[in-house]
Symmetry: C2
Subunit: 664 residues, 2 copies
């Protein structure tokens, strides 16, 4: 971990690691390379990444990122998760009900304006209000002047503010998805493991005015693959890292935050597994929720192991001490906010973040209740998600025609209400929510008395405004209304007493860091576009060499060794194609580039900016990366681009699609 | 719930409900009936019940009670859980490595002596010591004079003390077990559901001096089955109920105890599922642990729903108020102990009950460490499980030759150490246990450095005494030694500050209850022999009639409807026998008799004392029975005795066994 750690970094596109790449790889990071990385990378707003791969708006991502749309397009008799999908012609491409894609157009530094809005001597409440107002104003001005989605991004936990402008695409159509048996081969068992054999890809196409988009840039599909030692780049949207957090916050996570999250995720996973096992329909409707929760449980488990590792905590203390001597006050301020956070975080999570109400219907009801209350206010005074510049995206989600399954709603709501009763520790609020019933009975009652399954009903209530909310007999709207004062109160407390003081403290910490080290450390991930780089390379674990890539032969071997049991059942199409597939066809490969959740679906590109793979996972040692970068064993894992083309042709007969990628 | 609730009660054999049975069913509960119930009922010390069913010592119980032994008798190439077993001759009956059975011989009321040992004015510590000493003395005197296992049982939470004497059997051999696909058809999905189609039976034979035992009593196998409305009895060993607990304790369970247990069980279940899925060997070795944990999770979930039901709590408050007016002090005392319990219960559970160290090796190490410290003391001063009268049973377990799987040990220990770090809230102790490693690394290290897999090593250390413990380099012994002071300290605190004051308070509550109502309410369950009675009867749920019994036809229908997916895969033998099986053959039936966990495997007998079924489960509405009895929907579920004989003959070709049961 000496020079090698120099592959660390999820770099800002407007502050890229020119010198580092020159020094380590003799690579000249040119403007055209960066322009392509910016304009060909695609953010999936449901939590992933992707990239344009043809001049006709074709986009590649992971199957597990597309799965949300596959689930929503699934109908009895058309199970896109289990069976996959291939559009034979463009007319067969299936429009996703609520998928929004964002493509970054420009970045502008607005730090000075944001910081100037908060005046010395303001109370935390005043400062929080001033900050919210200036962010909202900047975004609205940008939206009005450019027509582009405009988000101010908080970097370095409050040290720097950048305005990101995006082209939005809301007409996105499914082109190809494999069956989940191939995409998620190995399932939860192999998730975060390597060697790996996942065919975790999915293709969409962006449309505008009913015509395929012609993007300004796309990643040409490489025809040469990768070799050990190759320099590669990952260009995507890492979600969240915690590397610049103080030790006090990390200890808070270890002692309170992560144990709470683990308990919650296990409760939801247990409930979803039980629901899934009640029959094939239940299994189908719960598939993506179950995958999401199981994946999160594995991520948080891995992070928790890292937080319990004294070596990790010692390293963080060392890093902190190197800065803290300059001025200990900001660190002390963050120590103080942790005890405030501790006293309220469960309320915040359960009531305000809605973890007590795991339900699409509740989410819709809450938006309707809050929209009625917030829209009459000036944009800068609203709860942040209701600011003018965000309304179109919010309404696109709220009015999604995607079907909502009542049986799954009852199962999830019952589990999350039960978890509320376990975890909140405030009996009066629990009793208000449960209204004199058990969680199971209450969940069934809430779903049965809710009409928000119907988009028209959601629109009707939205259009009717506050009066319709006050008079509504809808059970879910009543619940959202009842709990709203408590939820707003805890949110206000956290925003004013925790978030705002922390932002000010981190702003000072960033100053100290920049003074001492310059901008040599990238900001923590914020689900915005970043560029990472690394070397394709295998590694040793438990004395066993793990190769830099895996092959089709390995897939069939693993299926055989695991006795064909779920989740190692080979997809029928792959079994049928076995004799025609070259066994040396590469499946997956690994590199040292710095990634995290949110990078799923990120294009992996070579020196020439050609796509060589699609990132889809990290290995288990990589789970520590929320807190520290390591490249001893930690790797991200990508689907091999060459393997994708081979499978499209040989396994799926998707020759048109393959031709669109590689021209033959 | 008016007169029908009169079927409530898990009655003491020496205080049986003569009048109630006479009044409700015109049934004369005779002495011979009671003698048979006592001497033919068998307690499985691993947590279940059973009964003698032939003059040659044949015993029936549930497959899920036998499963612990099946697992321990399983070897690579002989998977008794997956494949089942049928001994062709007596010579083929397989000796279980550590199964102890107890058959009750007599009950003696020792309340006066126990209560007299505790003097007015003694401190809680003095009272606890005096009570422990008198219990130990009574048991030792009884063992010395009769040679029988002698346990003083605390009834009415401290109101009454009875001495139970048992004949012990430690040479117990496996005669027959079905494959788990038939025994646990429907798995976790159908567990606690009805209609049900479980073939949850298992047969053992007790031996003494290498010859089958000829018990003084056994239950003749009925040839007539049951009809709706029939009076039946369940004679077995219900584990724990909480019906006579105060409202303060029930609220403690609702707000702290149950949430903690749910979090722990989900953590263990999640870890065991993940371990199981890593391959067929892992799946095999983890099978019984996973079943046990999943079952417990479902039980505690059901109880938690009941505790969250305001109607249940209101009923308990009403019951309590009816007594409390006589003298509120004991209830107030128990209110006080709850806050003490709250401050220490996680330490008690994790460190002393060992929930942080889910490992056979740790359990052995702790016994060795404690035996070395306790045996030099007088019996009455020892930790209760090391009293002289219990040593033989304890050593029988400790020196069990059952194999211990190291991979499963690491998985369980890793999960439970992780849970310790989540739940204990005492960073210093967590760090002592983890010794500077992550839970995963620490678990692997502990198992790798432990030699207690080997029975000879366990015996060697036991024989060598305290010096061997002090000098041991065995990792697990070192851990048990390191944590022992903290574990003993919290146990002492709970025994003296919670248990003893509660026992005194409950003693007073029992007096008040007996004064007001006489002994009309049976004591809470204590995993000792009880007699319950009820009526065979179906019920309505969600407007659907549930029949009093199910049939073989229903089994095949359900398998078909669930698409042959696990856990609804039909066993091959049953598929092969389908055409030969009479579709009207009964599989399972239900009655209103009052049961709880521990009653698994209990003989269900008719008015003539003949066995008509083997209890194996409750339905979901029955999960409320820890706290209140109901017979509106709550039922226990039994395997039908007639169905067992039919399957033995037609499905398994076990004609000798069938002949031993029904003589033809």
């Amino acid at each position: 971990m000496t020079t090698a750690a120099a592959d660390e970094g999820m770099w800002l596109l407007n502050d890229p690691p020119h010198a580092k790449l020159q020094e380590r790889y003799g690579f000249d990071l040119t403007d055209p390379f960066l322009q392509r990385a910016m304009h060909a990378s695609v953010r999936f707003n449901n939590g992933g990444s992707g990239g344009f791969v043809s001049p006709d708006g074709l986009i590649v991502t992971n199957h597990h990122i597309g799965a949300d749309s596959l689930q929503k397009l699934t109908r009895p008799g058309r199970d896109l998760i289990a069976d996959g999908y291939l559009a034979k012609t463009r007319a067969d491409e299936l429009k996703c009900p609520d998928l929004e894609l964002n493509v970054l157009q420009s970045i502008e530094d607005v730090t000075d304006r944001v910081k100037a809005a908060v005046k010395p001597g303001q109370s935390a409440a005043e400062a929080a209000a001033a900050r919210r107002a200036v962010l909202s104003a900047i975004e609205k001005e940008s939206l009005d002047s450019t027509g582009l989605r405009s988000d101010v991004v908080t970097l370095y936990q409050g040290g720097v503010y950048h305005l990101y402008r995006y082209q939005k695409y809301t007409d996105v159509r499914l082109v190809f998805a494999p069956e989940s048996a191939a995409a998620a081969f190995g399932g939860d068992v192999d998730n975060f493991e390597y060697p790996r054999f996942g065919f975790d890809v999915c293709f969409f196409r962006a449309y505008q005015n009913d015509k395929p988009v012609n993007p300004s840039h796309y990643f040409p599909w490489s025809k040469t693959g990768v070799a050990e030692g190759d320099l590669v780049f990952v260009t995507g949207h890492p979600g969240t890292t915690n590397r610049l957090e103080t030790v006090a916050r990390l200890k808070y996570r270890r002692d309170f935050g992560h144990p709470y999250q683990l308990a919650r995720l296990r409760a939801m996973e247990s409930a979803l597994i039980q629901f899934s096992e009640t029959g094939p329909d239940a299994r189908r409707v719960a598939a993506t929720d179950l995958h999401r929760v199981a994946n999160a449980r594995k991520v948080i488990s891995g992070q928790f192991q890292a937080l319990l590792d004294p070596a990790v905590m010692a390293r963080k203390e060392q890093e902190e001490n190197a800065l803290r001597s300059a001025d200990p006050k900001p660190w002390e301020a963050i120590e103080k906010t942790q005890s405030l956070l501790r006293s309220r975080e469960r309320q915040m999570a359960l009531l305000e973040r809605g973890e007590a109400f795991s339900s699409e219907l509740f989410a819709a009801a809450r938006h309707l209740v809050r929209l009625a209350a917030e829209l009459p206010k000036p944009s800068g005074d609203r709860l942040r998600e209701y600011r003018t510049s965000n309304l179109d995206s919010l309404k696109f989600q709220l009015f999604s025609p995607a079907p909502i399954d009542p049986t799954l709603e009852v199962a999830k709501l019952s589990a999350s209400l039960t978890f509320l009763a376990e975890a909140l520790g405030d009996r009066a609020t629990i009793e208000i929510v449960l209204a004199g019933k058990t969680p199971r009975v209450r969940a069934a009652e809430l779903v049965a008395g809710c009409k928000l399954f119907d988009v028209a009903e959601r629109k009707r209530i939205f259009d009717a405004g506050p009066a319709a909310i006050d008079q509504s007999a809808d059970t879910m709207i009543q619940l959202a209304r009842t709990i709203d004062p408590a939820a707003r109160e805890v949110r206000k407390f956290i925003e004013e007493q925790v978030d705002e003081p922390e932002r000010q403290a981190y702003s000072r910490i960033a100053e100290i860091r920049f003074e001492k080290f310059g901008r040599t450390i990238a900001p923590d991930a914020t689900f915005t576009l970043r560029l990472a780089f690394g070397r394709v390379s295998g590694y040793d674990e438990d004395g066993v060499a793990r190769p830099y890539q895996t092959t089709v032969a390995g897939l069939f071997q693993r299926a055989g060794k695991m006795g064909g049991r779920e989740p190692f059942v080979l997809a029928d199409r792959w079994k049928a194609a076995q004799s025609k597939l070259d066994p040396t066809t590469p499946m997956n490969f690994v590199s040292t580039a710095d990634t995290i959740g949110g990078n799923s679906g990120s294009p992996v590109v070579n020196r020439d900016g050609e796509l060589v793979g699609i990132n889809f996972d990290r290995n288990r040692p990589g789970l520590v990366r929320n807190f520290v970068y390591s490249d001893v064993q930690a790797r991200h894992i990508a689907v091999h681009g060459g393997g994708v083309v081979a499978a499209l042709k040989t396994v799926y007969g998707a020759n048109d699609l393959a031709r669109e990628l590689v021209g033959q």
